[in-house]
Symmetry: C2
Subunit: 623 residues, 2 copies
Amino acid sequence: MKYNYLNNLPLDEAKSKYYEHLKKVGFTKKTETVPVTDACGRVIKDAAYAHICSPHYNASAMDGVAVKAAVTFAASERTPVTLTPADYTVVDTGDPLPDKADSVIMVEDLIEGENGNYDIISSVVPWQNVRQVGEDICMGDMIAPSGTALTPSLCGALLAGGITEIEVIKKPLVGIIPTGDEIVTPTADPKKGDIIEFNSTVFKGMLNGFNAESKLYPITPDKKDLIKSAIETALSECDIVLVSAGSSAGRDDYTSEIIASLGTVLVHGIAVKPGKPAVLGEALGKPVIGLPGYPVSAIVIMDEIVSEVVAMYYGKPRLTGETVKATLAKKIVSSLKYSEYVRVSLGRIGGKLSASPLARGAGVITSFTKADGVLIIPQNCEGIEAGEEVEIRLYKPLCEIENTLIITGSHDPLIDEVSDFLARRGAPFRVCSTHVGSMGAIYAVRDGLAHMGGIHLLDTETGEYNKSYVEKYLPDGNAVTVKGVGRVQGLMVKKGNPLNIKEFKDIKNVRYVNRQRGAGTRILCDWLMEQNAISPKEVDGYYNEEFTHTAVAALIAAGNADAGLGIYSAAKMYDLDFIPICNETYEFLIDKNYLDNPMVRAFLDVLYSDEFQIRLSEMGGYV
Amino acid sequence: MKYNYLNNLPLDEAKSKYYEHLKKVGFTKKTETVPVTDACGRVIKDAAYAHICSPHYNASAMDGVAVKAAVTFAASERTPVTLTPADYTVVDTGDPLPDKADSVIMVEDLIEGENGNYDIISSVVPWQNVRQVGEDICMGDMIAPSGTALTPSLCGALLAGGITEIEVIKKPLVGIIPTGDEIVTPTADPKKGDIIEFNSTVFKGMLNGFNAESKLYPITPDKKDLIKSAIETALSECDIVLVSAGSSAGRDDYTSEIIASLGTVLVHGIAVKPGKPAVLGEALGKPVIGLPGYPVSAIVIMDEIVSEVVAMYYGKPRLTGETVKATLAKKIVSSLKYSEYVRVSLGRIGGKLSASPLARGAGVITSFTKADGVLIIPQNCEGIEAGEEVEIRLYKPLCEIENTLIITGSHDPLIDEVSDFLARRGAPFRVCSTHVGSMGAIYAVRDGLAHMGGIHLLDTETGEYNKSYVEKYLPDGNAVTVKGVGRVQGLMVKKGNPLNIKEFKDIKNVRYVNRQRGAGTRILCDWLMEQNAISPKEVDGYYNEEFTHTAVAALIAAGNADAGLGIYSAAKMYDLDFIPICNETYEFLIDKNYLDNPMVRAFLDVLYSDEFQIRLSEMGGYV
């Protein structure tokens, strides 16, 4: 088996090596001329100077009559002046001033007399109620410097300045070539081993955000000659070429070799995680970039490198967006081998903005869908302690992040359902929920990291739920529990129960899938094991931990495990058999300060509504 | 002359009256189904649940061999385990795990032996190096709640979850009908009285930002039947109809009357400035909105009302964007009759974010092109003092605003030219320059409102420029002057000098146009008048004040005035004759703290460059 190790060039070195090369080979913008009426969002090549003044004539600023100001000078309440038709011209707003006039009297100030005469009781000064030539824009003034992205009002100003066409930078066309034998176009029903090709859709969306256009080429199998010819086609049609997957150094990874045969590979392997196996190359004066196949790795390279290559095309500095300072909610350990891009969710609780690290796996696209921003850990840093202040590069507007109800704790699909009800009601906030188990809820609420969290913690001595835990861990009474739902816990087993599992102690003889430490369901499991005198060693899969009821159900459905504890609604979703074990009390723990918080109130209003009770009964297993 | 006064309904009342009516008549979203591959940026109708898990099979997370973990348990450096071909299956990243395997050994950890055997010196545990079913997404999990705007990564997650098509909210189609006898399509060469129709381009750009599509109808003259039939056509084709201009109550203003004849007018006249003469109506269950003809008024109504109508269509709360706190740089007086929208530019000087009010005229589109945000002064407020903290709704990202070199002071076109050079060099900041005259520069630098400012202040006792002013107004030495340019000041007069103006004292006999108080050119004018024993009363137009050299030139070229003081480059731009009066020293006053500021350095580097000297000589009048 062939295995070539990649380089591990620090990101900054990789970038400057690559960008210097691209500059050297003359990679830069193309332009086109477009009507200004269609130019909004486009980037102008050269500075735009007004061709004409705006207004380009002396225009009445009001409805009224145009006069020579001098004829009005004597007017006062005691000495009205009478204007005869020879003295005035009726004008509407925007009308040109007659040459003999230099001011306008508003219609409201005219007192109608006979024979078309008007009396006035106050004077006007020259140029009063007149928009003089150039009031807004003077001919020759620079409306916008080179490289300006045109806003709606700038387009308006250009048109007002007599500019009808403008030379703009042509959006670079970026070719995307997905590669791989196992890759299939998106389908609802993939065969085992099929990998759904969604990366190119992510790239297309991101490129649009970079002000680039994209062209998607067909999926190319892992055959050198086919990939080579696809790249050649893309090079002849596009300004930048992205080759998706095959960028590493494995058996079927040809990207680097092929780019080298067509031009130059500057960098193969960057000390960034995720994203390491990227190829930065050039052919025919155009950037050809090999993106890693894992979506998260690819997104990091898109964000760090491709966005900057597009900015270089435009001749503008890359905008990395807003950053904020936040407090890290959880310790992160990082390797000295890489700079690491950790996606985080952000939440404002009280005054404090907290950053919670999300899943770090390179294959977890949902770590991006949930991310509010990214924390970049430099290569020379071994990690960051919880509580330290960190800088987060934002993916979403801060105002959206600030308006977030943060629910951290035990997993139940009902939280997502309530969020959806809120969204449908047009709630002016979003819900961000994280599944860290019931004990996680207690710590998060105690430490001010969440407004509320779901808990279902069995006190094995009293048989009562939650109360004793809250008293023990939050003894100062700063948090209270409010009614949630009753729900049925039980063993989920394959449809038809082929292993004939009847009660909890049967887990000894099958492959089990467990929940993570701190989860209410894990505490229940451990207590049931104690009751049945089962030790962890006797349970195959005790250390196989998942974070949600649906993840446990999915593994049983897939055959990775035979049984696992969970709630009925998850078993139903996966068409599993369900052996009820107990009813439990799932409540919400809420920081007292947020009991009257409008987001918390709105959440509970939905939860307690009749409409939502119907949804719960559809989901099943709530009592 | 007909004149109907408008109502003056407070904005909040106008909005709630209107929105309640629109709700009552059932104004809401339409939907369509689109491929997820094309859905980025679209808003989903219902919550999206994963159809399949991702991965949907147990996938190798590495290149290597798949094994049953149990066969590896004994492996250590001292007791290597030999894998025979029967024990393993070669897998690449993403390959499905064979049914008998539950883990993967990385290729790096395999020691090649004979006959296809591999030795290993460490064990793997079940599911190590395997992406188990549902690692990223579990079937049935909610990927996004109703009403979510799809980001690139959300589109990826939907596809990964087996969703290939999705019902999204159809972008509302907004019809735009420009009206007015005097309105012409954009042209570089309008006739006197022609008003260039640029508002619809501004609306189109704004609507795009609201996630709406627009359809532009032909310009309709001020004829009731034509406007009515244009609205009827738009109503039959669009979801929302905008009628541009004619929304007031003047002679040719029919919008309100026509909408009433087709449906209902809920509001005519809103207590907001600019923007008052808006019409909020409904016909056939669709919003029909009459927008004021003045661009700034129309933009305020677009921003406040139309954006919210579009949000209502989507069933989502309107996002008004980020706000920041800033210190007001200049007192604003406002009327109790309106809530007022004051455009401001923002600048961070030292630690302080300052907001400077821009031109408040309803016709000044450039007040929007220069605006970083808007300050909303409530109706019950008479104004705000300089130095007060105000809340600004941002139009631009704060990171862009923070990276701004602020130049406040005397006008010279060279400042725009240097900005353009900087932009072409890809400078990572923008330049914001405001023309408040040389004395304005002194105050702005003294008060920490600008990094620097241009000054040309003649000491009439010594004949020296700038020095004595800086010593007097900035006695603590916190600011210094640096070299700018020498330039020629003189009288600008119409081409061919028809009034035969020869020297400064000739302004007594002509119509003069002056500069504002505090401008260096005004100080020069006043000194020249003193020298020539001319009093302000003797100068026709002494109180006719403009803020820039080009504005003065434009008025002379237009015939509004016969003469004005200004610099040669402005006269040249307008093809005026120029009677030189003196050479002056135009310098930059810089706060000492910013002498080494990289933005200030980059500005001066351009100014002093040989390349820029060539540009100055093209402009003319610099010595």
